[in-house]
């Protein structure tokens, strides 16, 4: 799976203001609403479901990256977006580091395989430290989009 298979480019944010876990999740979910990827009426329920998932264990996977996510019956296919916080946000990650790079995923309840393949793609690409750094220091959403496209074209198709 590639970034372009699930990232809503109009929802990419290169400089989010939120400084709490819930704030980040809300801002990203709102960006998916603004991009037309999820319905405004589902915003609250999606934010609540993602927070509930975070209560089970942080999705901060290290290297300043977190992957907040949930299953939600309102989506027909996996949708997601990318956001960067320049200051970093405490996400209770395994390595204790603040998180600057977020991938938010909302998947249909009956597609666990797609969700796993999206996580696989994100984690495989982020093993490249310079890619990680470039995303975190991107000047705008368009630059993030281009970095993702470049990663997609280099990646092994899977």
């Amino acid at each position: 799976m590639k970034f372009s298979d699930f990232v809503a480019v109009d929802a990419i944010r290169s400089n989010i203001d939120a400084d709490t876990k819930e704030g980040v999740i809300r801002e990203m979910a709102q960006s998916l609403v603004d991009a037309g990827s999820v319905a405004a009426g589902d915003l609250e329920s999606i934010v609540k479901a993602i927070m509930k998932r975070e209560d089970l264990g942080s999705t901060g996977i290290g290297r300043g990256v977190a992957v907040p996510h949930t299953k939600h019956p309102s989506v027909r296919r996996l949708v997601g977006t990318v956001a960067v916080s320049h200051d970093g946000v405490d996400f209770e990650s395994l390595d204790g580091e603040p998180v600057q790079l977020f991938f938010l995923l909302v998947s249909p309840p009956d597609r666990p395989g797609d969700h796993l393949r999206a996580l696989e793609n994100i984690s495989r690409q982020l093993r490249d430290e310079s890619f990680c750094k470039q995303l975190k220091s991107a000047k705008g959403p368009l630059e993030i989009q281009h970095l993702l496209e470049e990663a997609d074209s280099h990646g092994v198709a899977s």
Binding site: K52, G57, T59, I61, P109, P112, H115, L119, S123, R124
Partner: protein
């Protein structure tokens, strides 16, 4: 130092596969041991102490993996990690429709 290499096969029993939460639990457990912990599928071998690495396995339900520990506490480490898989990481099969 007494370097042991111990390995065992495990099966991913969780319906959702080896997703972020079990990967987190696995990496946290692996980090408790001095031994190097590796997980392998047919295609690759990854560091069990890194969630990022574990997630690159994209191991769906039913996948067979080999867990290998190398170091002074390899046997205990494999026992602890094996039992996580045996208990399906305590995943409750409650479908969440909220």
């Amino acid at each position: 130092m007494n370097e042991q290499v111990v390995s065992r096969e495990v099966v991913v029993g969780m319906r959702q596969g080896l997703h972020a939460r079990p990967a987190d639990i696995l990496a946290r457990e692996a980090r408790k041991w001095r031994s190097r912990i590796e997980l392998a599928n047919a295609a690759q071998r990854v560091d069990g102490k890194s969630i990022l690495e574990v997630l690159t396995l994209a191991a769906e339900a039913g996948t067979r993996l080999v867990v290998e520990a190398t170091g002074p506490d390899a046997r205990e480490a494999i026992e602890a990690i094996g039992s996580l898989f045996d208990s399906n990481f305590n995943e409750q099969h409650v479908e969440d429709n909220s």
